[in-house]
Structure formats: C-alpha cells, structure tokens
C-alpha cells in the first residue's frame, strides 16, 4: 500500500519505527567474550532445565534386533585418559555412600544376582556418531533398592554420583537413573565387559549421551546436593549436565 507523505513526515515515522528495534541491541552483549561466556553457560543451564522437564521417565528408548547391532569390533573404545586403567578385577568392589540405609562395599556377584536385563540400544556420542550395541546388566533402580537408597515417590534423593577408577566422575538426575533401561552394565555382546569398555562395571543408559556412561565404576553416592565444579568430568568443562536424549 503506497501512501504519499511529506519528506519530513516520512523521516519522522522512519525514525520512530527504527527506535522500536532498540531492544535487539541487547543481543550485542554476546559479542563480548566476558559476558557471552556467562550467557551461554546460562543458556545451557536453561536447556538442561527444559530437558529435565521434557524427560518422560517411562518412555523407552528405541531397541533393536540382533541383526541391527554393529559387530563388536566396530564398537568404538572411547576414553578420556587411558583405555585400560588397570582395574584389579579380582579384588574389585563397588563402594556405596550417601543417603542409603546399607552403605558399604558390594561385589560384582551381588550385582549379578539382581534380575539381568539384556538390551540392544543406541549409544550416542555428543560428537555426533552413534553405534547400536548389545548390553547386559542390572537395572540401576533394582540396585538402588538393594542398597536402601531413598528412591520412593516421596522425598526422593535427587542425584546419583559416580566416581571411577580412572578418576572420571559423573552425576545423574534420579529420574534418569531410575529409568527402566538404565543399567549397571557388566556385559556386552553376551561377554563380560572387556577392560576397554569399562570392566568390571559401567553405566549404560540409552536415554543419556555417551559421556554420561561412566566406565570402571569405583564408588556411587546418593545425594541431594551436587558439589559445584564436580558434577562431571566433561560437564565441568562446558558440556550439558543433563546430557539426555
């Protein structure tokens, strides 16, 4: 729609409309590294909050038939330090700490005595690759009941923290830890976990990214408070803490 107006009037209208865009200048804050570092950390925190809200505790990740599983040889070894931190498999025990009724040392045999779940699920790396593998283990939720963790509907403990033999560490929101597909995994492809994949025990949660799947587990702790700056090896460097899928 063309209108005809005086040059002065057009300039006045243009100027007024231009000023209405001023709030967009606020986005310019992202151009300053000092400010933007904090802002994008907040952005990830907001994303993590939204991801937690989106998470459906009973919605299962896709599972696959045996023919869709990649050959064991093509399942990548991913590690942050050493592929084999030299765990003494004979003497290994899982240390249980925190808000539980039965803290202490647990053997692999005790964990293997729990109902065994075998599932073919997709392991997705934050880098962008993914691989369908076969995993066997005990449900984390079953083990948490065994140790008397506070995982009931009321006043549920909020986090599961793990530390590893190779000094890797992680923390998981309780809803994800209690997901029916979240495992303390001790088998891959029907064989005991090999050293490169985290023997004797690792996390395997198809609703989480790969960096959340800590290997060579040493200690687990049930807690309501995460230690700031110690929420996860990669998370402390900037990865999303929720890391959910």
């Amino acid at each position: 729609m063309i209108t005809r107006l005086e040059d002065k009037e057009l300039k006045r209208k243009s100027r007024r409309e231009l000023l209405k865009l001023a709030p967009i200048i606020a986005l310019g804050a992202f151009a300053f590294p000092k400010v933007s570092n904090r802002l994008i950390e907040e952005g990830v925190r907001f994303s993590d909050w939204a991801a937690g809200e989106m998470f459906r505790s009973q919605h299962l990740a896709q599972t696959f038939s045996n023919s869709e599983v990649v050959p064991f040889a093509k399942f990548p070894y991913n590690f942050y330090d050493v592929v084999d931190p030299g765990v003494n498999l004979e003497k290994w025990t899982l240390t249980v700490e925190g808000d539980v009724r039965h803290p202490g040392e647990y053997t692999l045999t005790q964990i293997q005595a729990l109902p065994k779940i075998v599932q073919n699920t997709r392991h997705i790396c934050v880098e962008g690759w993914d691989v369908i593998g076969s995993f066997g283990g005990a449900r984390i939720s079953d083990f948490l009941k065994l140790i008397g963790a506070n995982v009931g509907p009321n006043n549920r403990a909020r986090f599961l923290e793990v530390t590893c033999v190779d000094d890797y560490y992680e923390s998981i929101d309780m809803a994800s830890a209690l997901h029916p597909q979240s495992l303390f995994c001790y088998e891959m492809y029907g064989q005991p976990l090999d050293r490169g994949h985290g023997a004797p025990l690792r996390l395997q949660m198809p609703t989480k990214l790969g960096y959340k799947q800590a290997k060579y587990l040493d200690t687990i702790r049930i807690t309501n408070v995460l230690t700031s700056g110690k929420t996860g090896y990669w998370e402390d460097q900037g990865y999303s803490w929720f890391g959910g899928l």
């Binding site: 729609m1 063309i2 209108t3 005809r4 107006l5 005086e6 040059d7 057009l10 209208k13 243009s14 100027r15 409309e17 231009l18 209405k20 865009l21 709030p23 967009i24 986005l27 992202f30 802002l39 994008i40 950390e41 907040e42 952005g43 990830v44 907001f46 994303s47 991801a51 989106m54 998470f55 459906r56 919605h59 299962l60 990740a61 896709q62 990649v70 040889a73 093509k74 990548p76 997709r122 997705i124 790396c125 934050v126 880098e127 962008g128 690759w129 993914d130 691989v131 198809p206 609703t207 990669w234 460097q237 900037g238 990865y239 999303s240 959910g244 899928l245």
Partner: protein
C-alpha cells in the same frame, strides 16, 4: 486585467470611432467606408482572441493544478515491514549466524555421516569459520541460540498467519509462471518484468523456502537433541541417521540463500536495506 482593455472593449471603441468618423462625414474615405471599417474590426477581433483570455478558468480545474504542485513535494512510501517482521528478521539473522558457525564447529567433531569405525572425514571445515573454540563451547552457543531461533521462528509464523501479512510473501501456484522471467532477468540479463507487488515471484519462492528450511532445521534439531523424547519425529524423518543429514541439508539450504539475499540487498540500495530497520520504504518501484 484592469490595465489591458479586453478585446470586446477595444472592438466597441473602434466601432464607435468608425461610426463617429462616419457620422462626422468630413471626408468619407470611400463609398465602401463602412465595409473597410468592419474588416478592421474583424482583424482586431482575431488579435484580441489570441492575446487575451477567452473565458474565466473553472474552479475545479484551478484546484487540480494546485494539488499537482503540492504533490510534487510529497514522497511516495510504503510501510512494508511491520515491527514483528523486523524484530524476528534481525533476531533470526543473528541466531542463524550463530547456529551455522557453531553448528559447523559441532560437525567438525565428527565430520561424517557414516560409522565411527572406520573413521572418515567428509568435509574439513576450517576452524576460522566456526564459533565456540571447541565442541563443548560450540554446543553452548548452539544450545543458547536455538531458543532465540525457535522463539523468533514460532512468533514469526504466528504473526504471519494471524495478521494476514503472509499474503505479501507466500509463494502460491499463481506465482510459478513468474519465476522464470525473473530468474532470466537476474541471471541472464533478460528484460525486467514489471513489479506487481512488494515481492516478485522469485523473491516469494526464496522467502517461502527459507521458512521451510527454518522449520526443517528446528524439527530435525529437536530430534538430534532428544531422539528418544521425540522418537515419533525421528521416525518421520526416516530415523536418527537421516535426521542428521536433513539437519545438515537445511543448513546447506540457508548457505545457498544467504549470499544471494545479501547480493540482492546490496544491489537494491539503501532505501530497500533501511526499510528492514524502519519498516518504511521510500519510493518503492511498484505502483499502489
């Protein structure tokens, strides 16, 4: 008017003089005296007709001339871009820049669409074209600006639909026939088709496509971010692997659009560029 005697007045005068000469009869010039006198009067009448205004100017005609004179001082302008469109355009422009550069950094962490083993590099994107410094930093930018991108995109769509403003830019079947003449004008120096509205058919095609690209990148991004929570969407896009390819393809689409868009903006001058800030376009090339 007062200084110049009207033709009629002069005619009267001459007639009187003629009559007076006649009446005086001191020496009639000839027998044909009155005839000569009449011829002189006729001649003078002709002269008077040419030099003096014939009739008073009608009132309406006088108003028209005045309007024409004033109109010359007025500027033709159109309010092309409502505030909502301008805000979303610029928020989107900034977001898209961040999403593409940080996205390329994320892609660099695994520059392939195949399996992890054997490792392949499909595209080696120079670090200088990327944002975030490393994968974690790039993800922070990506996970922050995806909210701006999504919010401005959704707000844009709702505004276009409910304001009816989409009619200026939505590519419709009737625009198909106008695409080729416009493309021929731009790329092959063909004749310029007349401007029919705010946007020509090729512009409508390009702008409508970018809305589609935005929707595609948002939806595929949701699948890559939460493939389990949005498993139904992953299924629609043909699975997790294809989704990653669609997401990349949407970015390629934007990379095809953006340089063309910038070149066109550069070629069309300041008034056109400034209209995306002020909403008002001075002297648009289309009529009404």
């Amino acid at each position: 008017m007062a200084d110049e005697p009207s033709g009629d007045g002069r005619r009267e005068e001459i007639k009187k003089e003629g009559i007076r000469d006649d009446v005086a009869g001191s020496e009639p010039a000839s027998s044909a005296g009155p005839e000569v006198c009449e011829a002189v009067v006729a001649k003078l009448e002709m002269v008077a007709d040419e030099s003096a205004p014939k009739e008073p100017v009608p009132v309406e005609a006088r108003a028209e001339t005045t309007a024409k004179a004033e109109e010359a001082e007025l500027v033709r302008a159109a309010y092309e871009h409502p505030l909502a469109i301008r805000i979303t355009h610029w928020v989107n422009a900034i977001s898209l820049f961040v999403m593409i550069t940080s996205g390329l950094r994320i892609f660099r962490a695994f520059p392939s669409f195949g399996p992890k083993i054997p490792e392949k590099i499909l595209l080696d994107i120079p670090k200088s074209l990327t944002l975030g410094g490393w994968l974690g930093g790039a993800l922070q930018w990506h996970f922050t600006f995806m909210w701006f991108f999504a919010a401005s995109g959704i707000f844009y769509l709702l505004f276009q639909i409910f304001s009816g403003h989409y009619r200026t830019m939505l590519f419709m079947p009737r625009d198909i026939s106008g695409v080729w003449p416009m493309a021929r004008h731009y790329f092959l120096f063909g004749p310029k088709p007349p401007a029919m509205g705010q946007y020509n058919p090729l512009q409508k095609l390009a702008y409508t496509s970018t809305v589609g690209l935005g929707a595609l990148s948002l939806l595929t991004g949701m699948v890559m971010y939460k493939p389990t929570q949005f498993s139904w969407l992953a299924f629609l896009f043909g699975g997790f692997h294809l989704t990653r390819i669609w997401h990349f393809a949407a970015m390629c689409g934007f990379l095809a659009f953006i340089p063309g868009h910038l070149i066109m903006v550069a070629l069309h001058g300041w008034a056109n560029f400034f209209s995306m800030f002020s909403g008002w376009k001075r002297e648009p090339e289309y009529q009404e």
